[in-house]
Symmetry: C2
Subunit: 266 residues, 2 copies
């Protein structure tokens, strides 16, 4: 988080707003056995750029930050829940990385907490319907976007292929990047655009922009020793594809969203 | 299912329609590794009465069956996904009942399949929005109902307390019945009422009716040897409470929904 705030003022400020929104909604209340771990996992999850990208896309197309904040918060919840389920001991995933810190909860609690957080993400989204804004059709469209990004053709598919990859039964690294980080960031950008009132053309441009950002991030996080040059080439190409999508928008307005092209470890 | 069809013509016919609806939407398509287990678990799950109760509530308040069929299908998906996650080996649940048949999938696949089915349930619901029916606000309200029934104050809470109960660390059997079967059936009836255009008073009456049906079912399924008399008393009391809720409605119309009072093992 320290690195994020220094290098990424836009991401850091939006993420702080998302946290405020989530803290208003996720109280530590009875049953504590259920809400305490939920609180813990939501607020200890390493932030993903996808929620802030959702807000940036909304603002880029002329929407107000408030219109996207519930969806951005829901994206953070989806991300946190997916990480919990990914790290459960029963996932057939070879145990390569030790978990940071002591495991505070049993796998049974972690499984249920993930289920609870997914459900709460959809609840937050559905409750963001506001008759004064007449936004219910947009909110429903965003729910469909999010279920697809998280479901059997999105995150679930990517997680399955990642297990095969880690078990050396697959070499589809690109496929995993597309489905996991790629699809999740594409969803974030598309949802923000929808909520900000974008045209179909703008939505699809921002979806492709998000896909590039997510895949770049996955590549630069997963770079293997000896592969640095190749990865740099891929990232360079993705960055130029991403910038092409932004050409459509007014240059002065695209500054915030283009900052996500620097959210990389490389 | 054979017993269900004979004794419960209403339940059986509605369940058959729900299956048709689900078969149209859940195809066995690529990636097969993800969709094949999804198909298997959705169509092999023991049917719960809650989805048909949703349709019955919709019809009771003057709605058409079509208005509730997507929500009923989503309820079946939620039920199937909850059962998968409940039976995962990492749930801290003491292994009392052997699983029926050989375990066909690894725990990792089952975990991901459950996640995929939950997401697909919300997708089906959100897609049931129909501008011609102008039903988007009702659909959003139903999504909130369902996330609450499945989430940290509903099913997740019940599953957590059920583990404590099975480990003899708790004696709150009633609490588990309320949160799991009770809350799920209450949600089914309330969702059907909302989609059928019920008044707030009708929604709450049908919610309480569904709660009674669910708790009766949990009690009669969980009856322990030596406890038959006590359970019979509880079930009798719940049935009379449930019938009281139905008095509000026109007698001739309440026949289908009252048939759920006989969906019991006792």
């Amino acid at each position: 988080m320290a690195i994020m705030s220094q290098d990424q003022p836009y991401w850091a400020s939006v993420h702080a707003e998302i946290e405020v929104h989530l803290k208003r909604h996720i109280l530590v209340k009875p049953p504590l056995s259920v809400f305490e771990p939920m609180h813990h996992f939501v607020f200890s999850a390493l932030p993903s750029p996808a929620p802030a990208l959702c807000v940036a896309a909304c603002e880029l197309v002329g929407g107000h930050r408030d219109q996207a904040i519930a969806a951005a918060a829901a994206l953070h919840l989806m991300h946190a829940a997916a990480v919990i389920h990914e790290q459960l001991p029963s996932t057939d995933r070879p145990k390569t990385k030790p978990k940071p810190g002591p495991m505070a909860y049993s796998p049974g609690i972690e499984l249920l907490t993930g289920d609870g957080i997914f459900a709460f993400g959809y609840e937050l989204l559905a409750k963001s319907m506001d008759p004064a804004q007449n936004n219910s059709e947009r909110v429903l469209r965003v729910i469909v976007e999010m279920t697809r990004a998280m479901g059997s053709q999105g995150m679930v598919d990517g997680q399955y292929h990642e297990i095969l990859l880690l078990c050396k039964q697959s070499r589809y690294y690109n496929y995993v990047c597309d489905k996991k980080e790629g699809g999740f960031h594409a969803c974030g950008a598309a949802c923000g655009a929808i909520l900000g009132g974008a045209s179909e053309e703008e939505i699809e441009k921002l979806r492709r922009y998000g896909l590039c950002v997510g895949v770049m991030r996955a590549f630069s996080n997963g770079v293997e020793e000896g592969n640095e040059m190749e990865t740099k080439e891929v990232v360079k190409e993705l960055r130029s594809l991403a910038l092409k999508e932004l050409e459509f928008f007014h240059e002065g307005k695209a500054e915030a969203i283009s900052s996500f092209l620097h959210v990389l470890s490389l």
